[in-house]
Protein backbone atom coordinates (compact mmCIF):
# COMPACT_ATOMS: atom_id res chain seq x y z
CA UNK A 1 0.00 0.00 0.00
CA UNK A 2 2.68 2.43 1.06
CA UNK A 3 4.91 1.52 -1.83
CA UNK A 4 2.03 2.01 -4.21
CA UNK A 5 1.30 5.40 -2.76
CA UNK A 6 4.98 6.32 -2.94
CA UNK A 7 5.09 5.25 -6.55
CA UNK A 8 2.14 7.44 -7.41
CA UNK A 9 3.68 10.33 -5.53
CA UNK A 10 6.97 9.87 -7.37
CA UNK A 11 5.16 9.87 -10.67
CA UNK A 12 3.30 13.03 -9.81
CA UNK A 13 6.45 14.69 -8.55
CA UNK A 14 8.22 13.92 -11.79
CA UNK A 15 5.35 15.29 -13.83
CA UNK A 16 5.29 18.41 -11.72
CA UNK A 17 9.02 18.89 -12.14
CA UNK A 18 8.84 18.42 -15.87
CA UNK A 19 6.03 20.97 -15.98
CA UNK A 20 7.98 23.45 -13.88
CA UNK A 21 11.18 23.11 -15.84
CA UNK A 22 9.17 23.74 -18.99
CA UNK A 23 8.26 27.09 -17.54
CA UNK A 24 11.84 27.81 -16.66
CA UNK A 25 11.63 26.95 -12.98
CA UNK A 26 14.38 24.67 -11.77
CA UNK A 27 13.52 22.53 -8.84
CA UNK A 28 16.12 20.57 -7.03
CA UNK A 29 15.32 17.89 -4.60
CA UNK A 30 17.85 16.76 -2.04
CA UNK A 31 18.17 13.47 -3.83
CA UNK A 32 19.04 15.14 -7.09
CA UNK A 33 21.64 17.34 -5.47
CA UNK A 34 23.11 14.35 -3.67
CA UNK A 35 23.36 12.33 -6.84
CA UNK A 36 24.57 15.29 -8.88
CA UNK A 37 27.40 15.93 -6.46
CA UNK A 38 28.35 12.28 -6.34
CA UNK A 39 28.29 11.69 -10.05
CA UNK A 40 30.23 14.78 -11.04
CA UNK A 41 33.05 14.34 -8.62
CA UNK A 42 34.20 10.76 -8.91
CA UNK A 43 37.86 10.66 -8.02
CA UNK A 44 39.56 7.45 -9.01
CA UNK A 45 42.26 5.70 -7.05
CA UNK A 46 45.75 5.74 -8.53
CA UNK A 47 45.78 2.03 -8.97
CA UNK A 48 46.75 0.02 -12.01
CA UNK A 49 47.44 -3.66 -12.37
CA UNK A 50 48.46 -4.56 -15.88
CA UNK A 51 48.12 -3.58 -19.51
CA UNK A 52 44.67 -2.07 -18.99
CA UNK A 53 46.32 0.40 -16.63
CA UNK A 54 48.22 1.79 -19.60
CA UNK A 55 44.91 2.46 -21.31
CA UNK A 56 43.64 4.01 -18.10
CA UNK A 57 46.65 6.33 -18.06
CA UNK A 58 46.05 7.16 -21.72
CA UNK A 59 42.47 8.07 -20.82
CA UNK A 60 43.67 10.77 -18.47
CA UNK A 61 46.12 12.19 -20.98
CA UNK A 62 45.54 15.03 -23.39
CA UNK A 63 43.96 13.03 -26.20
CA UNK A 64 41.02 11.65 -24.26
CA UNK A 65 41.12 13.78 -21.12
CA UNK A 66 39.05 12.20 -18.40
CA UNK A 67 39.45 15.53 -16.58
CA UNK A 68 36.55 16.93 -18.57
CA UNK A 69 34.27 14.95 -16.28
CA UNK A 70 36.02 16.26 -13.21
CA UNK A 71 37.76 12.96 -12.65
CA UNK A 72 41.40 13.79 -13.21
CA UNK A 73 42.00 13.97 -9.49
CA UNK A 74 43.58 10.54 -9.16
CA UNK A 75 44.10 10.24 -5.43
CA UNK A 76 46.88 8.01 -4.20
CA UNK A 77 45.22 7.43 -0.86
CA UNK A 78 42.14 5.17 -0.84
CA UNK A 79 40.71 7.37 1.90
CA UNK A 80 40.15 10.14 -0.61
CA UNK A 81 39.12 8.10 -3.62
CA UNK A 82 35.60 7.28 -4.74
CA UNK A 83 36.26 4.85 -7.53
CA UNK A 84 38.61 1.96 -7.88
CA UNK A 85 39.31 1.01 -11.46
CA UNK A 86 40.45 -2.60 -11.36
CA UNK A 87 42.48 -2.29 -14.52
CA UNK A 88 44.08 -5.53 -15.46
CA UNK A 89 44.86 -9.05 -14.35
CA UNK A 90 44.15 -9.67 -10.70
CA UNK A 91 46.56 -12.37 -9.68
CA UNK A 92 45.79 -14.36 -6.59
CA UNK A 93 48.79 -12.72 -5.00
CA UNK A 94 47.26 -9.30 -5.60
CA UNK A 95 43.62 -10.05 -4.83
CA UNK A 96 43.85 -9.50 -1.04
CA UNK A 97 45.45 -6.13 -1.62
CA UNK A 98 42.71 -5.10 -4.03
CA UNK A 99 40.05 -6.07 -1.52
CA UNK A 100 41.91 -4.27 1.24
CA UNK A 101 42.17 -1.11 -0.83
CA UNK A 102 38.46 -1.33 -1.52
CA UNK A 103 37.77 -1.75 2.17
CA UNK A 104 39.83 1.30 2.98
CA UNK A 105 37.79 3.53 0.71
CA UNK A 106 35.04 5.56 2.34
CA UNK A 107 31.44 5.14 1.27
CA UNK A 108 29.96 5.82 -1.25
CA UNK A 109 32.47 3.95 -3.37
CA UNK A 110 32.33 2.44 -6.81
CA UNK A 111 34.19 -0.22 -8.73
CA UNK A 112 34.87 -0.44 -12.43
CA UNK A 113 36.20 -3.78 -13.62
CA UNK A 114 38.19 -2.92 -16.70
CA UNK A 115 39.12 -5.51 -19.23
CA UNK A 116 38.62 -9.23 -19.62
CA UNK A 117 41.04 -10.22 -16.86
CA UNK A 118 39.39 -8.10 -14.20
CA UNK A 119 35.92 -9.35 -15.10
CA UNK A 120 36.55 -13.03 -15.56
CA UNK A 121 40.25 -13.80 -15.64
CA UNK A 122 40.21 -13.46 -19.40
CA UNK A 123 42.77 -15.54 -21.26
CA UNK A 124 44.30 -16.57 -17.95
CA UNK A 125 41.00 -17.87 -16.73
CA UNK A 126 42.24 -21.42 -16.50
CA UNK A 127 45.56 -20.50 -14.92
CA UNK A 128 46.37 -21.53 -11.38
CA UNK A 129 47.47 -18.03 -10.42
CA UNK A 130 44.80 -15.66 -11.63
CA UNK A 131 41.61 -14.68 -9.92
CA UNK A 132 38.62 -15.41 -12.10
CA UNK A 133 37.07 -12.00 -11.83
CA UNK A 134 37.27 -9.43 -9.07
CA UNK A 135 33.51 -9.59 -8.55
CA UNK A 136 34.08 -12.71 -6.51
CA UNK A 137 35.19 -10.46 -3.66
CA UNK A 138 33.88 -6.96 -4.20
CA UNK A 139 30.70 -5.65 -5.81
CA UNK A 140 31.45 -4.30 -9.27
CA UNK A 141 29.37 -1.45 -10.62
CA UNK A 142 30.44 -1.36 -14.25
CA UNK A 143 32.16 -3.97 -16.38
CA UNK A 144 34.09 -3.01 -19.49
CA UNK A 145 34.78 -5.96 -21.78
CA UNK A 146 37.78 -5.73 -24.05
CA UNK A 147 41.37 -6.78 -24.07
CA UNK A 148 42.26 -4.07 -23.33
CA UNK A 149 39.32 -1.71 -23.81
CA UNK A 150 40.00 1.48 -25.70
CA UNK A 151 40.33 4.69 -23.69
CA UNK A 152 36.99 5.74 -25.12
CA UNK A 153 35.51 2.58 -23.69
CA UNK A 154 36.71 3.64 -20.24
CA UNK A 155 35.14 7.06 -20.72
CA UNK A 156 31.96 5.31 -21.81
CA UNK A 157 32.08 3.16 -18.70
CA UNK A 158 32.59 6.27 -16.64
CA UNK A 159 29.50 7.80 -18.17
CA UNK A 160 27.61 4.58 -17.55
CA UNK A 161 28.63 4.84 -13.91
CA UNK A 162 27.45 8.44 -13.80
CA UNK A 163 24.10 7.43 -15.25
CA UNK A 164 23.86 4.64 -12.72
CA UNK A 165 24.57 7.01 -9.84
CA UNK A 166 22.09 9.49 -11.20
CA UNK A 167 19.35 6.90 -11.32
CA UNK A 168 19.82 5.81 -7.72
CA UNK A 169 17.15 6.64 -5.20
CA UNK A 170 18.02 7.41 -1.65
CA UNK A 171 15.06 5.67 -0.12
CA UNK A 172 13.18 2.50 -0.77
CA UNK A 173 14.39 -0.95 -1.61
CA UNK A 174 16.41 0.21 -4.61
CA UNK A 175 18.59 2.53 -2.61
CA UNK A 176 22.32 2.15 -3.21
CA UNK A 177 24.31 -0.32 -1.21
CA UNK A 178 25.99 2.26 1.01
CA UNK A 179 22.68 3.47 2.35
CA UNK A 180 21.51 0.05 3.45
CA UNK A 181 22.49 -0.20 7.08
CA UNK A 182 22.56 -3.98 7.20
CA UNK A 183 24.95 -4.33 4.29
CA UNK A 184 28.63 -4.06 5.13
CA UNK A 185 30.98 -1.56 3.56
CA UNK A 186 33.92 -3.85 4.12
CA UNK A 187 34.40 -7.31 2.79
CA UNK A 188 36.53 -10.12 4.15
CA UNK A 189 40.02 -10.03 2.75
CA UNK A 190 40.90 -13.43 1.29
CA UNK A 191 43.94 -15.23 2.59
CA UNK A 192 46.29 -17.67 0.95
CA UNK A 193 45.08 -21.17 1.64
CA UNK A 194 46.71 -24.46 0.84
CA UNK A 195 45.53 -24.56 -2.75
CA UNK A 196 43.65 -21.38 -3.39
CA UNK A 197 42.52 -18.20 -1.78
CA UNK A 198 40.37 -18.77 1.28
CA UNK A 199 37.49 -18.28 0.84
CA UNK A 200 37.43 -18.77 -2.94
CA UNK A 201 34.65 -16.21 -3.20
CA UNK A 202 32.56 -13.97 -1.05
CA UNK A 203 29.06 -15.38 -1.12
CA UNK A 204 27.55 -12.01 -0.28
CA UNK A 205 28.55 -10.41 -3.55
CA UNK A 206 29.14 -13.37 -5.84
CA UNK A 207 25.89 -14.52 -7.36
CA UNK A 208 26.78 -16.52 -10.42
CA UNK A 209 24.18 -17.88 -12.76
CA UNK A 210 23.26 -21.38 -11.78
CA UNK A 211 24.06 -23.89 -14.48
CA UNK A 212 21.10 -26.20 -14.80
CA UNK A 213 21.93 -29.51 -16.36
CA UNK A 214 19.10 -30.75 -18.45
Amino acid sequence: MRAGLGGVMDEELKNLKAELSKHGVFTTTFEELYNWGRKNSVWPLTFGLACCAIEMIATTMARYDLARFGAEVFRASPRQADLIIVSGTVTKKMAPQVVRLYNQMPEPKYVIAMGACAISGGPFRDGYNVLKGIDRYIPVDVHIPGCPPRPEALIDAFMTLQKKIDAQQLTGEDRPRHLKEDLPSEFPVPEYGEHDLEPPNNAEVWNPLKVIQK
Binding site: L33, Y34, W36, G37, R38, N40, S41, T46, M61, A62, R63, D65, A67, R68, F69, G70, E72, R75, A76, S77, R79, Q80, D82, Q104, P106, E107, P108, H178, S185
Partner: protein, 393 residues
Protein backbone atom coordinates in the same frame (compact mmCIF):
# COMPACT_ATOMS: atom_id res chain seq x y z
CA UNK B 1 29.24 58.47 -5.96
CA UNK B 2 32.82 59.56 -5.93
CA UNK B 3 35.61 57.12 -6.45
CA UNK B 4 36.59 57.55 -2.84
CA UNK B 5 33.14 56.55 -1.69
CA UNK B 6 33.28 53.42 -3.82
CA UNK B 7 36.72 52.68 -2.48
CA UNK B 8 35.54 52.96 1.09
CA UNK B 9 32.10 51.46 0.56
CA UNK B 10 32.68 48.43 2.76
CA UNK B 11 34.25 50.50 5.51
CA UNK B 12 31.30 52.88 5.43
CA UNK B 13 28.76 50.06 5.48
CA UNK B 14 30.51 48.48 8.42
CA UNK B 15 30.56 51.74 10.39
CA UNK B 16 26.92 52.33 9.64
CA UNK B 17 25.95 48.81 10.75
CA UNK B 18 28.02 49.10 13.91
CA UNK B 19 26.36 52.39 14.78
CA UNK B 20 22.93 50.86 14.21
CA UNK B 21 23.52 48.15 16.80
CA UNK B 22 23.09 48.71 20.54
CA UNK B 23 26.11 50.20 22.27
CA UNK B 24 26.77 47.15 24.46
CA UNK B 25 27.41 44.79 21.58
CA UNK B 26 29.10 47.31 19.31
CA UNK B 27 32.64 45.94 19.74
CA UNK B 28 31.39 42.42 19.08
CA UNK B 29 29.49 43.55 15.99
CA UNK B 30 32.53 45.40 14.74
CA UNK B 31 34.72 42.33 15.08
CA UNK B 32 32.09 40.12 13.49
CA UNK B 33 31.69 42.45 10.53
CA UNK B 34 35.43 42.51 9.99
CA UNK B 35 35.92 38.78 10.24
CA UNK B 36 32.82 37.43 8.53
CA UNK B 37 33.57 38.78 5.03
CA UNK B 38 37.00 37.16 5.14
CA UNK B 39 35.42 33.88 6.19
CA UNK B 40 33.18 34.06 3.15
CA UNK B 41 35.42 35.61 0.53
CA UNK B 42 38.51 33.48 0.87
CA UNK B 43 36.79 30.06 0.87
CA UNK B 44 34.81 31.10 -2.20
CA UNK B 45 38.06 32.29 -3.75
CA UNK B 46 39.37 28.81 -2.95
CA UNK B 47 36.49 27.23 -4.86
CA UNK B 48 37.05 29.45 -7.87
CA UNK B 49 40.79 28.90 -7.74
CA UNK B 50 40.52 25.12 -7.73
CA UNK B 51 38.49 25.05 -10.90
CA UNK B 52 40.63 27.71 -12.58
CA UNK B 53 43.73 25.80 -11.59
CA UNK B 54 42.42 22.55 -13.00
CA UNK B 55 41.40 24.23 -16.22
CA UNK B 56 44.66 26.14 -16.47
CA UNK B 57 46.77 23.09 -15.82
CA UNK B 58 44.73 21.28 -18.43
CA UNK B 59 45.45 23.97 -20.98
CA UNK B 60 49.14 23.78 -20.16
CA UNK B 61 48.98 20.06 -20.85
CA UNK B 62 47.16 20.48 -24.17
CA UNK B 63 43.77 19.41 -22.86
CA UNK B 64 40.58 21.06 -21.72
CA UNK B 65 40.31 20.28 -18.02
CA UNK B 66 36.91 20.11 -16.33
CA UNK B 67 34.32 21.50 -18.72
CA UNK B 68 31.19 19.43 -18.35
CA UNK B 69 29.82 20.22 -14.91
CA UNK B 70 27.73 23.33 -15.24
CA UNK B 71 28.61 26.10 -17.68
CA UNK B 72 32.24 25.64 -18.75
CA UNK B 73 32.76 23.32 -15.82
CA UNK B 74 32.50 26.09 -13.26
CA UNK B 75 30.20 24.12 -10.98
CA UNK B 76 32.92 21.53 -10.49
CA UNK B 77 33.96 22.79 -7.03
CA UNK B 78 30.31 22.69 -5.94
CA UNK B 79 30.08 19.05 -6.94
CA UNK B 80 33.35 18.32 -5.18
CA UNK B 81 32.10 20.09 -2.10
CA UNK B 82 28.84 18.13 -2.00
CA UNK B 83 30.75 14.93 -2.55
CA UNK B 84 33.18 15.73 0.24
CA UNK B 85 30.30 16.50 2.60
CA UNK B 86 28.51 13.22 2.02
CA UNK B 87 31.59 11.04 2.05
CA UNK B 88 32.03 8.69 4.94
CA UNK B 89 34.39 10.02 7.57
CA UNK B 90 36.94 7.39 8.49
CA UNK B 91 38.98 7.51 11.65
CA UNK B 92 41.54 4.71 11.76
CA UNK B 93 41.24 2.36 14.73
CA UNK B 94 44.77 3.02 15.94
CA UNK B 95 44.54 6.76 15.48
CA UNK B 96 44.70 9.27 18.27
CA UNK B 97 41.08 10.35 17.90
CA UNK B 98 41.36 13.80 19.44
CA UNK B 99 44.57 14.83 17.69
CA UNK B 100 43.31 13.38 14.44
CA UNK B 101 40.14 15.42 14.76
CA UNK B 102 41.78 18.67 15.86
CA UNK B 103 44.52 18.81 13.22
CA UNK B 104 42.45 19.98 10.20
CA UNK B 105 40.51 22.44 12.36
CA UNK B 106 43.71 23.94 13.73
CA UNK B 107 45.17 24.16 10.24
CA UNK B 108 42.22 26.07 8.84
CA UNK B 109 41.99 28.23 11.95
CA UNK B 110 45.61 29.32 11.80
CA UNK B 111 45.30 29.93 8.07
CA UNK B 112 42.36 32.23 8.78
CA UNK B 113 44.29 33.93 11.56
CA UNK B 114 46.90 35.02 9.07
CA UNK B 115 44.34 37.13 7.22
CA UNK B 116 43.89 39.33 10.28
CA UNK B 117 46.92 41.44 9.42
CA UNK B 118 46.65 41.60 5.63
CA UNK B 119 45.24 44.90 4.37
CA UNK B 120 42.85 43.96 1.57
CA UNK B 121 42.10 47.59 0.76
CA UNK B 122 42.51 51.13 2.03
CA UNK B 123 41.54 51.08 5.73
CA UNK B 124 40.51 47.48 5.33
CA UNK B 125 42.49 45.37 7.75
CA UNK B 126 41.05 43.36 10.60
CA UNK B 127 43.80 44.00 13.13
CA UNK B 128 46.10 46.93 12.49
CA UNK B 129 48.82 46.04 14.93
CA UNK B 130 52.40 47.24 15.32
CA UNK B 131 53.99 43.84 14.99
CA UNK B 132 51.71 42.49 12.29
CA UNK B 133 54.48 40.70 10.47
CA UNK B 134 55.51 38.81 13.60
CA UNK B 135 51.86 37.88 14.07
CA UNK B 136 51.72 36.47 10.57
CA UNK B 137 54.77 34.30 11.02
CA UNK B 138 53.66 33.20 14.47
CA UNK B 139 50.38 31.97 12.99
CA UNK B 140 52.41 30.20 10.31
CA UNK B 141 54.37 28.47 13.04
CA UNK B 142 51.15 27.13 14.53
CA UNK B 143 50.34 25.68 11.12
CA UNK B 144 53.41 23.47 11.39
CA UNK B 145 52.11 22.12 14.68
CA UNK B 146 48.79 21.25 13.07
CA UNK B 147 50.52 19.42 10.24
CA UNK B 148 52.57 17.47 12.72
CA UNK B 149 49.38 16.63 14.61
CA UNK B 150 47.78 15.33 11.43
CA UNK B 151 50.76 13.14 10.67
CA UNK B 152 51.14 11.79 14.15
CA UNK B 153 47.48 11.45 14.99
CA UNK B 154 46.77 9.24 12.00
CA UNK B 155 49.12 6.51 13.24
CA UNK B 156 50.22 5.69 9.75
CA UNK B 157 53.84 5.50 8.76
CA UNK B 158 53.24 7.43 5.55
CA UNK B 159 51.41 10.18 7.41
CA UNK B 160 54.30 10.36 9.83
CA UNK B 161 56.89 10.55 7.08
CA UNK B 162 54.85 13.18 5.30
CA UNK B 163 54.56 15.23 8.47
CA UNK B 164 58.29 14.98 9.12
CA UNK B 165 59.01 16.08 5.59
CA UNK B 166 56.52 18.92 5.84
CA UNK B 167 57.85 20.19 9.14
CA UNK B 168 61.47 19.94 8.03
CA UNK B 169 60.66 21.74 4.82
CA UNK B 170 58.61 24.45 6.46
CA UNK B 171 61.28 25.16 9.07
CA UNK B 172 63.98 25.28 6.42
CA UNK B 173 62.08 27.64 4.20
CA UNK B 174 60.81 29.79 7.03
CA UNK B 175 64.33 31.18 7.43
CA UNK B 176 64.61 32.65 3.90
CA UNK B 177 60.95 33.67 4.04
CA UNK B 178 61.44 35.76 7.17
CA UNK B 179 64.87 37.02 6.15
CA UNK B 180 63.66 38.28 2.80
CA UNK B 181 60.80 40.13 4.47
CA UNK B 182 63.25 41.59 6.99
CA UNK B 183 64.82 43.56 4.15
CA UNK B 184 61.45 45.23 3.64
CA UNK B 185 61.12 45.86 7.36
CA UNK B 186 64.55 47.51 7.37
CA UNK B 187 63.63 49.93 4.63
CA UNK B 188 60.07 50.60 5.76
CA UNK B 189 61.14 50.90 9.37
CA UNK B 190 58.04 49.13 10.60
CA UNK B 191 56.58 45.71 11.21
CA UNK B 192 53.06 46.96 10.60
CA UNK B 193 51.60 45.89 7.27
CA UNK B 194 49.56 49.05 6.85
CA UNK B 195 52.65 51.20 7.37
CA UNK B 196 54.60 49.11 4.89
CA UNK B 197 51.86 49.69 2.31
CA UNK B 198 51.85 53.42 3.05
CA UNK B 199 55.62 53.64 2.59
CA UNK B 200 55.22 52.28 -0.92
CA UNK B 201 52.58 54.84 -1.90
CA UNK B 202 53.16 57.61 -4.41
CA UNK B 203 53.95 57.71 -8.10
CA UNK B 204 56.78 59.00 -10.24
CA UNK B 205 54.95 60.21 -13.28
CA UNK B 206 52.58 57.33 -13.77
CA UNK B 207 54.89 54.67 -12.35
CA UNK B 208 54.56 53.26 -8.84
CA UNK B 209 58.15 54.22 -8.14
CA UNK B 210 58.18 53.30 -4.47
CA UNK B 211 57.09 49.71 -4.76
CA UNK B 212 59.83 47.66 -3.20
CA UNK B 213 59.78 45.22 -6.07
CA UNK B 214 61.33 47.92 -8.27
CA UNK B 215 64.54 48.01 -6.28
CA UNK B 216 67.37 45.51 -6.78
CA UNK B 217 67.05 44.08 -3.29
CA UNK B 218 63.26 44.18 -3.52
CA UNK B 219 63.14 42.30 -6.78
CA UNK B 220 65.52 39.62 -5.53
CA UNK B 221 63.70 39.56 -2.22
CA UNK B 222 60.35 39.17 -3.97
CA UNK B 223 61.57 36.22 -6.02
CA UNK B 224 63.13 34.58 -2.99
CA UNK B 225 60.01 35.28 -0.95
CA UNK B 226 57.80 33.66 -3.57
CA UNK B 227 60.06 30.61 -3.80
CA UNK B 228 60.00 30.24 -0.03
CA UNK B 229 56.23 30.82 -0.06
CA UNK B 230 55.81 28.00 -2.54
CA UNK B 231 57.69 25.70 -0.22
CA UNK B 232 55.86 27.03 2.82
CA UNK B 233 52.46 26.28 1.34
CA UNK B 234 53.62 22.84 0.15
CA UNK B 235 52.95 23.59 -3.47
CA UNK B 236 54.55 21.95 -6.44
CA UNK B 237 57.54 21.72 -7.08
CA UNK B 238 58.00 21.57 -3.32
CA UNK B 239 55.07 19.25 -2.65
CA UNK B 240 57.21 16.49 -1.24
CA UNK B 241 55.13 16.23 1.95
CA UNK B 242 52.36 14.77 -0.17
CA UNK B 243 54.53 13.08 -2.76
CA UNK B 244 52.10 10.53 -4.18
CA UNK B 245 54.83 8.44 -5.70
CA UNK B 246 56.45 7.71 -2.37
CA UNK B 247 54.23 8.39 0.60
CA UNK B 248 50.65 8.12 -0.72
CA UNK B 249 49.33 11.52 0.30
CA UNK B 250 51.69 12.55 3.06
CA UNK B 251 50.29 13.82 6.30
CA UNK B 252 46.66 13.65 5.20
CA UNK B 253 46.81 10.08 3.93
CA UNK B 254 44.28 8.92 6.50
CA UNK B 255 41.84 11.77 6.11
CA UNK B 256 38.66 11.28 4.15
CA UNK B 257 35.56 13.23 3.34
CA UNK B 258 35.18 16.64 4.84
CA UNK B 259 38.33 16.59 6.92
CA UNK B 260 40.32 16.05 3.77
CA UNK B 261 38.46 18.95 2.18
CA UNK B 262 39.51 21.03 5.18
CA UNK B 263 43.14 20.17 4.52
CA UNK B 264 42.68 21.12 0.91
CA UNK B 265 41.08 24.37 2.02
CA UNK B 266 43.86 25.02 4.54
CA UNK B 267 46.52 24.55 1.91
CA UNK B 268 44.89 27.05 -0.40
CA UNK B 269 44.12 29.50 2.38
CA UNK B 270 47.79 29.39 3.37
CA UNK B 271 48.72 30.06 -0.23
CA UNK B 272 46.34 33.04 -0.46
CA UNK B 273 47.57 34.43 2.82
CA UNK B 274 51.22 34.25 1.91
CA UNK B 275 50.51 35.69 -1.53
CA UNK B 276 48.61 38.48 0.17
CA UNK B 277 51.65 39.13 2.31
CA UNK B 278 53.87 39.20 -0.77
CA UNK B 279 51.51 41.74 -2.34
CA UNK B 280 51.67 43.81 0.82
CA UNK B 281 55.42 43.65 1.23
CA UNK B 282 56.65 44.04 -2.30
CA UNK B 283 53.84 44.99 -4.66
CA UNK B 284 52.49 48.08 -2.96
CA UNK B 285 49.56 46.38 -1.26
CA UNK B 286 46.24 47.73 -2.46
CA UNK B 287 47.75 50.60 -4.46
CA UNK B 288 46.99 50.92 -8.15
CA UNK B 289 49.88 49.98 -10.41
CA UNK B 290 49.60 53.16 -12.52
CA UNK B 291 48.66 56.58 -11.23
CA UNK B 292 45.75 57.10 -13.62
CA UNK B 293 44.16 53.82 -12.49
CA UNK B 294 43.55 54.99 -8.95
CA UNK B 295 39.86 55.44 -9.66
CA UNK B 296 39.46 51.67 -9.44
CA UNK B 297 38.79 50.70 -5.80
CA UNK B 298 41.78 49.55 -3.76
CA UNK B 299 40.28 46.20 -2.83
CA UNK B 300 39.92 45.33 -6.50
CA UNK B 301 43.60 46.02 -6.96
CA UNK B 302 44.52 43.87 -3.99
CA UNK B 303 42.58 40.89 -5.28
CA UNK B 304 43.85 41.43 -8.81
CA UNK B 305 47.43 41.30 -7.59
CA UNK B 306 46.61 38.31 -5.41
CA UNK B 307 45.13 36.39 -8.31
CA UNK B 308 48.14 37.26 -10.45
CA UNK B 309 50.42 35.69 -7.89
CA UNK B 310 48.12 32.66 -7.64
CA UNK B 311 48.29 32.33 -11.41
CA UNK B 312 52.07 32.34 -11.01
CA UNK B 313 51.79 29.50 -8.50
CA UNK B 314 49.65 27.52 -10.94
CA UNK B 315 52.02 28.24 -13.79
CA UNK B 316 54.96 26.98 -11.76
CA UNK B 317 52.97 23.90 -10.80
CA UNK B 318 52.23 23.18 -14.42
CA UNK B 319 55.88 23.48 -15.36
CA UNK B 320 58.25 22.06 -12.81
CA UNK B 321 58.60 18.49 -11.62
CA UNK B 322 58.83 17.64 -7.96
CA UNK B 323 62.21 18.05 -6.28
CA UNK B 324 64.03 15.37 -4.35
CA UNK B 325 64.34 15.81 -0.60
CA UNK B 326 68.10 16.46 -0.64
CA UNK B 327 67.72 18.89 -3.53
CA UNK B 328 65.06 20.69 -1.55
CA UNK B 329 67.25 21.02 1.52
CA UNK B 330 70.33 21.97 -0.48
CA UNK B 331 68.36 24.62 -2.26
CA UNK B 332 67.12 26.07 1.02
CA UNK B 333 70.43 26.19 2.85
CA UNK B 334 72.95 26.59 0.07
CA UNK B 335 71.12 28.97 -2.22
CA UNK B 336 68.17 30.64 -0.53
CA UNK B 337 69.85 31.48 2.75
CA UNK B 338 72.97 33.18 1.32
CA UNK B 339 70.85 35.00 -1.21
CA UNK B 340 68.50 36.38 1.45
CA UNK B 341 71.48 37.44 3.56
CA UNK B 342 72.94 39.36 0.66
CA UNK B 343 69.53 40.87 0.01
CA UNK B 344 69.55 42.21 3.57
CA UNK B 345 73.06 43.52 3.01
CA UNK B 346 71.96 45.22 -0.19
CA UNK B 347 68.96 46.74 1.55
CA UNK B 348 71.34 48.13 4.16
CA UNK B 349 73.37 49.85 1.45
CA UNK B 350 70.16 51.16 -0.07
CA UNK B 351 69.16 52.69 3.25
CA UNK B 352 72.28 54.79 3.56
CA UNK B 353 73.05 55.85 -0.01
CA UNK B 354 71.55 58.91 -1.70
CA UNK B 355 68.95 57.98 -4.24
CA UNK B 356 69.90 57.84 -7.89
CA UNK B 357 71.09 55.47 -10.54
CA UNK B 358 74.37 54.89 -8.69
CA UNK B 359 72.55 53.50 -5.69
CA UNK B 360 70.61 51.17 -7.94
CA UNK B 361 73.77 49.79 -9.52
CA UNK B 362 75.70 49.51 -6.27
CA UNK B 363 72.85 47.64 -4.64
CA UNK B 364 72.43 45.33 -7.60
CA UNK B 365 76.09 44.34 -7.77
CA UNK B 366 76.35 42.11 -4.65
CA UNK B 367 73.10 40.32 -5.49
CA UNK B 368 74.02 39.59 -9.08
CA UNK B 369 77.56 38.63 -8.10
CA UNK B 370 76.43 36.17 -5.45
CA UNK B 371 73.78 34.76 -7.77
CA UNK B 372 76.40 34.18 -10.43
CA UNK B 373 78.86 32.63 -7.98
CA UNK B 374 76.26 30.39 -6.38
CA UNK B 375 75.02 29.41 -9.78
CA UNK B 376 78.50 28.36 -10.81
CA UNK B 377 79.12 26.52 -7.57
CA UNK B 378 75.79 24.72 -7.52
CA UNK B 379 75.88 23.74 -11.14
CA UNK B 380 79.34 22.36 -10.44
CA UNK B 381 80.54 22.82 -13.99
CA UNK B 382 77.67 20.73 -15.31
CA UNK B 383 76.42 21.83 -18.65
CA UNK B 384 72.84 21.29 -19.60
CA UNK B 385 72.87 20.17 -23.17
CA UNK B 386 69.99 19.20 -25.31
CA UNK B 387 69.43 15.60 -24.55
CA UNK B 388 69.45 13.19 -27.44
CA UNK B 389 67.60 9.93 -27.50
CA UNK B 390 68.92 6.94 -29.28
CA UNK B 391 65.75 5.04 -29.88
CA UNK B 392 62.85 7.33 -29.25
CA UNK B 393 63.18 9.53 -32.29
Amino acid sequence: MTTQAVDQIFVTIKHWLVLQSPAVIQPAVSVLLSVLPLLIIFPSLFAVTTVLERKGLGRMQNRYGPNRVGPYGFLQPLADGIKALIKEDIVPVGADKLVHFLAPLLLVMTAFLEYAVIPVGRNMVVADMDSALVFFFAAGAAMEVSIFMAGWGSRNKYSMLGAMRAVAQMISYEAPLILSSIAVVMIAGSLSTTTIVERQAGYWGVWPYHWYVFTPWGMAGFVLFMIAATAESNRSPFDLPEGESEIIAGYFTEYSGFKFALFFLGEYLGMFAISGLAVTLFLGGWAAPLSFLTFIPSWIWFFAKLMTLIAGFIWIRGTLPRLRMDQLMNFAWKFMLPMTLVVIFSAGIWRFMPSGIVRWVVCAIPIVLLYWLLGRALMGGRKLEKRTYRFAE
